[in-house]
């Protein structure tokens, strides 16, 4: 069976999202702009504004000159995404595979409805009435590929649909306007000047000439015009978020009581997730007290789990370091991050180990504080204190590693082979250097170009042996350094590394060889 894809368009979706909270603006000329400033451009408008002569791309100032009583709303991307996510969740009841092209345009997989609906048009009608019930104007199109269904939806009237039968994509697209193609204004004007106004006229052009004139983008658009769009549906996976609140008849003061109620709420939520084949790795618990305090507790595990015991063990540790200001009257438990449950057989041992490690880390953070658990990394630099970083220790989550591919460039700075960056100032047999970071100020007395006496860090001593100098400089683009290093040995046998900073004309103690 050939694939069938439906496209649902909600015209002016970003503007509608704003107007839902302000119904008094429905009858007034209203536009949605990039931001609240006068120079921002009009992105969406309602019919009243269009009738007054406002057009897309005008600045607010221009639009207000045309229509003085115009109401301007600023774009709120967060709200749009939230409303879009809500709608997508509801559309999952029509199709398991949904792709959001942008807020207001959604593709659904229309294959496999035949068990529930005898004909495609019944399914399309049901879809239209469903979205209409959510309070949005909608139009839909169904075809063999994404572009055909998009064109079908674009040419439909509000609350209606267009169905393009299998194999009829080319015929359907032939008389449609080239404005429906996803191309820039420049390309559209070129085609218009060539007398090409319909998709049919564009589709008959030879591939090579289109490639020469418009490049690879033109060839891709040519394929769309011919009805040969083979781009697959990229379904988005929606995160299930569960939130449950328990109001307590008698306020709780003890940890055991809080743990009991949280466990009962969490078990239900996790079993719901388990039925959907999901697990979670992040839970937020909010304790609301009688004095209106809200105490948030974040619980995070290394590997997603749907066992409440894993989270309750962490909760016990977190509650140990909290002093409740008043009895707790309300408990809210939010499941924050969900993902498909990984195969038990393949990763059982690793999962158990990772969760034990997260428990150990939680206990350590409780004792030491989160900023004091570090792991060393060697960095390429000439400055001794710049040669390493002590970064906070983090559990290696597979998902985080996948998401951090963008940071690969910064990882190149980390050096694993020290052959170029070793501390090769001298052949000091005692290679164990203890570094003072930041370097400590020192007072040095020299005679005849040799260092004779040093006072630093509550000690002083006469120099019996010195080696150096070694000069290093760099980082001229930021604070910069220009140093002259010496290794000195005192009469009592202590060996230090000191340097003279040329820019500030001061001596510093860098470290001690031990």
């Amino acid at each position: 069976m050939n694939r069938r894809i439906a496209c649902v368009i909600i015209p002016n979706f970003p503007l509608l999202v704003q107007l839902r909270d302000k119904p008094e603006l429905y009858e007034i000329p209203t536009v949605l702009a990039e931001s609240g400033s006068n120079r921002s451009k009009v992105l969406y408008m309602n019919i009243q504004a269009a009738n007054e002569g406002v057009s897309f791309g005008m600045t607010i100032v221009q639009a207000k000159n045309v229509c003085p009583e115009l109401c301007v709303l600023a774009k709120d991307s967060k709200k749009e995404q939230q409303k879009s996510d809500e709608l997508l969740r509801k559309l999952h009841s029509f199709s398991p595979f949904i792709e959001e092209a942008k807020p207001g345009i959604v593709y659904l997989d229309a294959s496999g409805f035949r068990r529930t609906y005898p004909q495609e048009k019944d399914w399309a009608e049901e879809l239209i009435s469903f979205v209409r019930l959510q309070g949005y104007p909608v139009k839909a199109g169904i075809g063999g590929n994404k572009f055909t269904s998009l064109v079908g939806a674009s040419i439909s009237e509000i609350y209606s649909y267009t169905i393009v039968p299998d194999g009829k994509e080319k015929e359907f697209l032939k008389p449609q306007s080239i404005q429906l193609l996803p191309m820039d204004q420049n390309m559209y004007e070129k085609l218009y000047r060539l007398g090409i106004k319909t998709l049919g006229q564009f589709a008959v052009l030879p591939d090579q000439e289109v490639a020469e004139r418009f490049g690879t983008e033109g060839v891709q658009i040519l394929k769309l015009a011919r009805g040969e769009d083979d781009e697959p549906l990229k379904p988005a996976r929606l995160e299930e978020k569960e939130s449950q609140t328990k109001y307590l008849d008698s306020p709780l003061e003890t940890q055991i009581g809080i743990i009991f109620y949280v466990n009962s709420i969490l078990e239900k939520q996790l079993s719901n997730l388990a039925q959907k084949g999901l697990a979670c790795d992040g839970v937020l618990i909010i304790l609301k007290t009688e004095k209106s305090n809200q105490i948030p507790i974040h619980l995070s595990v290394a590997q997603e789990s749907n066992r409440s015991k894993t989270f309750i063990d962490l909760l016990r540790l977190e509650l140990g370091k909290i002093i409740l200001p008043a009895p707790v009257k309300e408990i809210q438990v939010d499941i924050q991050r969900t993902s498909p449950l990984s195969s038990e057989q393949l990763s059982l041992y690793r999962k158990k180990e990772a969760n034990i490690l997260s428990q150990i880390l939680t206990q350590l953070k409780r004792v030491l504080g989160s900023g004091n658990i570090l792991t060393p990394k060697i960095v390429s630099s000439h400055k001794p204190e710049g040669r390493f970083q002590l970064v906070p220790y983090q559990l290696n989550k597979e998902r985080k590693l996948k998401g951090n591919r963008k940071n690969k460039k910064s990882d190149k700075k980390i050096v694993t082979d020290l052959s170029d960056s070793r501390f090769a100032f001298s052949k000091n047999p005692i290679c164990g250097l203890r570094l003072y970071n930041p370097p400590k100020p020192a007072t040095v007395r020299t005679e005849g170009g040799l260092i004779k006496f040093v006072i630093a860090d509550s000690w002083y001593g006469e120099i019996v042996r010195q080696t150096g100098p070694w000069e290093i400089s760099g980082e001229w683009w930021s604070k910069g350094y220009d140093r002259c290093y010496f290794e000195i040995e005192l009469s009592e046998g202590e060996q230090y590394l000191i340097f003279f900073e040329n820019s500030s004309k001061q001596w510093f103690l860098q470290g001690i060889f031990d």
Partner: protein
């Protein structure tokens, strides 16, 4: 089966288990040595390596080479894939120097507690949960006191985990109760050599000494 055959069978089983799980055969009073990788230290001074399940002290004055010796020991331990927690109280730990000595930084966790009591508590948590095999307490230039209770708890957790706790200190810094330490190594520098003496040892003759040539 005859008693001789029984004994032979038991020895064969022990050998098989020892290959895969050496610590499974440990008995009270016995220990599994952690080889340091320094030949003269392991063979002449220690009986095969550092004793597991005990607290060890390394003491030396400034620039005596004690940190160099510690890094060499940790290098041997990390090569055997033992996880190490380094409690850096004076905040002078220099990772490039550690890596040059051969320590695998991937097996190293650096912790900077506010005071020694928190550090000992954290080490106890790590040993109890099997998070580490070796804990190093760098007490150079610290003056805090260690409570006997905390030290006893640490010693117990080290024993149960069959790990090693190493205290690095210099004369005048934080004192460790001698009766809790199983092995005390004193380090002195003699020109290009390090002299290591056992000031106290429950595992061999006391007041033994070896000399190490640096940069071996």
């Amino acid at each position: 089966m005859s008693s001789v055959a029984n004994k032979t069978l038991i020895q064969q089983l022990k050998k098989r288990i020892a290959d895969k799980h050496p610590r499974a055969l440990i008995r009270w009073g016995e220990y599994i040595p952690f080889p340091t990788g320094i030949h003269s230290l392991d063979n002449d001074l220690l009986q095969g390596g550092l004793p597991s399940g005990h607290l060890i002290e390394i003491i030396g004055s400034k620039s005596s080479g004690k940190t160099t010796l510690l890094f060499k020991i940790l290098s041997g331990l990390s090569k055997a894939e033992n996880s190490i927690a380094y409690f850096d109280f004076p905040h002078t730990f220099y990772p490039p120097s550690a890596q040059e000595s051969g320590i695998d930084l991937k097996n190293l966790l650096v912790l900077r507690p506010k005071n020694i009591q928190f550090g000992l508590r954290a080490a106890e948590i790590l040993f109890r949960n099997g998070g580490i095999c070796v804990a190093v307490f760098d007490l150079v230039s610290t003056r805090d006191r260690i409570s006997k209770t905390m030290l006893l708890r640490l010693k117990r957790s080290v024993k149960q985990a069959k790990g090693i706790g190493i205290f690095l200190r210099e004369p005048g810094s934080t004192q460790i109760q001698r009766n809790q330490i199983a092995l005390c190594l004193k380090v002195e520098r003699l020109n290009q050599k390090l002299q290591i003496k056992t000031e106290k040892s429950l595992f061999g003759k006391e007041t033994q000494a070896v000399e190490l040539v640096l940069n071996e």
